[in-house]
């Protein structure tokens, strides 16, 4: 079933132990555009994001009810392979988290995992994949001469770009980004933001941000969350200029902090 949504949740509830963090969330994230998610601290943005690739399940005490569909497939269905879900849905974390291996191995990490399961990859192809991924995140020129150096030696901005680059070789449909710029300085933020904007169209991007200006500038649609519920979801200009809900207006105008 193709209804134009890359991600769709229906009646999604989530508990950390006894604490309910998401309430009856119905969200449709449209394919090919950038959707931003805003809301005060602790409202469940990260939680919702981490449910979409089931990485939340690493914590043993998380329980969910309801459905999440990625490209029309119910990711909680019994016959779903979690590895396939994570191939379709890449994730960028708040703090850049390159693996303690070389830049090359970082970018090719996911590619090698997924491709090696199916076929033998010729060496030339790896090099091409590596270059294309690094070019897409505008990092190629900066690192092309030190591909075999440890990724942990890069600046934070470069690390975050690298963390985005390593998702691309497996051709995901969706990129989830949890405040990808919050650990960066203003210049780094701008660079990464610009780069994310360039990925628009090739990927569906769902990005959490605390930065109103960033949400407004760099997203097509905007979701406002409060206390584990989705309060408002619409075109970004609409949400910012004519919010339907008074709580949205309060938040956007800075009355929640």
């Amino acid at each position: 079933m193709d209804n134009g949504y890359a991600i769709e949740t229906r009646g999604l509830n989530l508990w950390y132990g006894d604490f309910q963090a998401l309430f009856d969330v119905d969200l449709g994230v449209k394919k090919g555009i950038i959707t931003s998610m805003i809301g005060p601290s602790g409202c469940g943005k990260t939680t919702l994001l981490r449910t979409c690739n089931r990485i939340n399940e690493r914590l043993g005490y998380v329980r969910t009810t309801g459905n999440v569909f990625v490209l029309g497939h119910d990711i909680f269905a019994d016959d779903v392979e979690i590895v396939q879900v994570r191939k379709e849905v890449g994730m960028v974390f708040q703090r850049p988290n390159p693996l303690p291996i070389s830049i090359r191995d970082n970018v090719l990490f996911g590619f090698r995992l997924h491709e090696a399961r199916m076929r033998k990859v010729p060496a030339g192809e790896e090099a091409a994949v590596l270059e294309s991924a690094l070019r897409q995140v505008l990092l190629w020129d900066a690192v092309k001469d030190r591909l075999d150096q440890p990724a942990t030696g890069l600046s934070l901005e470069e690390q975050q770009k690298l963390c985005i680059a390593r998702l691309l070789p497996v051709k995901p449909e969706v990129l989830l980004m949890d405040e990808p710029c919050s650990a960066l300085d203003p210049a780094g933020t701008e660079a990464v933001e610009e780069m994310i904007w360039q990925l628009r169209g090739d990927y569906t991007i769902l990005i959490v941000t605390h930065n109103m200006a960033q949400a407004r500038r760099a997203s097509d649609e905007c979701v406002f969350m409060l206390l584990g519920k989705i309060i408002e979801h619409g075109r970004t200009e609409e949400v910012f200029l004519n919010p339907l809900n008074s709580e949205t207006a309060d938040y956007i105008e800075g009355r929640y902090g």
Partner: protein, 305 residues
Amino acid sequence: MSHPRDRTGVMDRRDLAWYADRCAQVLIFAGGISAIVFIIGIFVFVTREGLGFVFGPLDLGQFFSSIEWRPTSDNPGYGALALMVGTLSVTGLAMLFSVPLSLGAALYIGEFAKGKTREALKILVEMLAAIPSVVWGFVGMSIMNPLIIQVFDVPVGLSALNAGIILGLMAAPIMTTIAEDALKAVPDSYREAAEALGATRWEVILKVVIPASKNGLVAAVLLGVGRGFGETMAVLMATGHSINIPTSPFDGVRALTATIASELGDTATGSPHYGSLFTLGIFLFVVTFLINLTADLVVKGIRKK
């Protein structure tokens, strides 16, 4: 200085705290220094007792190449080769058995076990480390010995194999604990990153966790080896204590440590026999020191560059 405020209670309290602070400083310093003093003291003692013999009657070539260990004979021989091979073979067998066991246990405890199981296992491993070595020797003599005779259909069960297994079990707790520490030191964000990229649990362990904790794991193994070299009582009881270059794991052997322990009581201070045992001691000291030093350097990652 006799500033009037010096006599106030506030100032007195500060003086007291200051003295306490000073005392604590001195005590801690003394503690730290005494550790070094003891180590140097032991080293000086062992070498002083042994060196006279090393540079005197001992033929170093014979020491390292002959298997004739006859210190009490009329025609004495001080060849320690069989003893070295004995120690090596027992330690080697122990590691063959213990390294996979310990690393497996560490992986299970560190990466798979959760909550109560995990805590219980850690406590069990620590309890295992607390079993006195003479008890292990006892296990070797009275349980492993008949078991080996029965299972492998060999005439004696006190052998390099027996001691190797016992020593492996003895070295396992420290190796498990240190390996588990090394795994624990791998930031969880690495695992999360790899899982989010679609790695399975095993791929995360093989491609991320083990490479990232490699130094710690190597150090764990080295400390296990060090433990094996230095172990005495259990080895004395389980090897059969026969001077012999083993050709199979079922042969009896004799270890350096066990030789010192069993013979030193019968020697006259200053005699050649006494000196020769101290020579074995120096040798052991140097080898274990080197092993521990390597382990230390590996932990600090100096070997990387």
